[in-house]
Symmetry: C3
């Protein structure tokens, strides 16, 4: 694909968000709910943090997309999460699984493996989480101790086995559906200093996937534009506090010119490149 | 009432907040707890998010006001909320009900109707929520699919039936106690891009109602000053991220001059105007 | 100790954070989780809000430090908190207890006293909380109704009885291990207008205590640098909203020069000075 076509394809996904205003249900951790909702609003989507047992399933059936993030699964969310995943699966609502700290901790590891039965549309995590979900060794907490390239094999294996898109976040993200592999080098290290940067991206992926036929492209677009906004915000910020505010501003204002100027996405030719 | 008297009456409520420093208990959704607390602090009130079963009732009895917002009613809050409402009712603590997404979802709809028995002092919602609480059709999520004017009739009916003040938020808010009807056109569209804007207003209403004899006026004052601060913040913000920070600054610094210059409140002569 | 030695000792603790990148587990209230995580990230630590029963204990055993804050103890956290405290105690993970609103409310008062059996490394609270935990009268909510100096005696008694460090926050903080007493006058009144200022300091204390042998010094360092960053941020902020963002920036950028220029820590000669 030409550079021009790539920019156009990615920006087409992004600009569809305010047009379609997708309703994105988030069952996510309590640390990042506010920031995730603000990311969705800035992007033109409509967040709804419906994570109550007895409601979560009904709501997944009518949502444009559902995000399930395992960061802080209290007893109430532990009931609501499988309910939502099952309903999303049956209703063909696209849904994103973010298996935070999977492998390192018992309750969420059991839950993450159960959720794979409901066929997530996209699985998003850091390298350690993707490796652990594929059966490898886990990290100590929510931060990755592995590099993105270490997880390429696991990501492809997971994608093929579960017929899903897998995105590995890191300094250069790796996104694959098992056949096609993309690298996205957009973003900035300061994002690791703002809690919920990765988790809110999961919500953004849900929004993007809901407005495109091809989940791989929705996932690539979300990573790229999110990273571009981060790069723009970083230039005008004195530290992580002002960055978080400027990032939301940038996300709300990303233009096709910005994408053309800053896009750093490329297709990888082989599985392990 | 003259324009001057209107400004004075509204600003009198607002400036009473730092003087009386009301203690506002919030049983609210986890998405907006931080923002709501910061709104109360900026206004001069004292927030306390006491939503633990076995404590919530005792605390409602000693609070200046209690806010009950049904956004994310996990199993723990489902126990604490009726406990707090019942205690507020018995202790004559003014309390505000924000029936988020009522009608659209089962658990909260049942709970909202149960709570009406404890006579909320104010009910605040968007048009869809007020219509649904009055028995009409619901929206798809937390966002309204109806216009404020569509809800005038339902608001008046609810207010009369439950002897309460009802506030319908939207581009021009409608506030009624069943007899007197006010419209407030303060505010800015960018508020819809910041999660918790409406929910935090619910907390602000609680604070204002606790420092005035007339709950209608407390509710009008909260809407007006909140909207004025939003207008001021919007002028110096590049997007929703910096707006949220600037809004808290503006709220902490609203002067009587600002109110005089920007107030857009008027009484409506008839029920359906 | 000379002024130069004091500055050096405090800055040595602070600069060890990005070097060691301690993993700080937080079982804290849902109002302040995001802000607390951002404070830890700005300081160079790694937050992990692992508060799920069945995981919290395992995680405390591998964490660098654990914070337990009783602000919003839902049914799920009520199970996870003693699990984490017991495990931290057995694993010799340093842990910080923040007994929010203890004395005023039943459930947390019972829990706080149970937790003292697991020997917190540091207890941090406002004057009313420290007095109440020591058996005195409680405040009405999360805000203190007593002055720091009123709590000196209770702080020293608690510290001696439980062989712990006790920190009383206020306009001038008091920090004691029962034998050595320090006062820290860094900080600014605007911090009381940002929710979670005190709670996030609790997380910062955990981080600092994990990188020094002497818990008293870790606690003093956390208070001093946190307060210095607040003073710097206040100078460039128009209100509490921009202050919160600027504070995180300042915290990420505090230099030894800043500490030297602004440090306001002194040893108190007698128990009651």
């Amino acid at each position: 694909m030409s550079e021009v076509a790539l920019v156009r394809r990615i920006y087409d996904v992004w600009k569809a968000l305010p047009t379609h205003n997708p309703l994105v249900q988030c069952l996510t951790n309590t640390v990042v709910q506010g920031f995730s909702a603000n990311v969705l609003l800035a992007a033109g989507a409509s967040p709804a943090m419906v994570d109550v047992p007895g409601e979560a399933g009904d709501f997944a059936a009518i949502s444009s997309a559902t995000l399930i993030n395992l960061g802080t699964i209290g007893t109430s969310q532990q009931l609501a999460i499988p309910e939502a995943a099952q309903s999303a699966h049956h209703s063909q609502t696209p849904w994103v699984l973010d298996p935070v700290a999977v492998g390192a901790l018992k309750v969420r590891t059991r839950l993450a493996h159960e959720l794979l039965n409901y066929r997530p549309t996209v699985i998003r995590g850091n390298a350690s989480e993707i490796i652990a979900l594929c059966g490898g060794a886990a990290a100590r907490g929510a931060d990755s101790t592995a590099q993105v390239q270490d997880a390429h094999g696991s990501a492809i294996e997971l994608a093929k086995k579960h017929k899903t898109v897998v995105a590995v976040s890191g300094s250069a993200d790796f996104i694959t559906d098992g056949e096609r592999h993309y690298q996205c080098a957009n973003g900035h290290a300061i994002q690791t200093k703002v809690t919920g940067s990765g988790c809110a991206l999961g919500a953004g992926i849900g929004a993007c996937v809901s407005v495109t036929e091809d989940a791989l492209w929705g996932t690539v677009a979300a990573h790229a534009v999110y990273g571009i906004a981060a790069q723009q915000a970083q230039e005008v910020s004195a530290g992580p506090g002002t960055f978080a505010a400027n990032f939301l501003d940038a996300l709300a204002n990303v233009s096709e010119d910005d994408v053309e100027r800053l896009l750093a996405v490329r297709q990888l030719a082989t599985d392990k490149e």
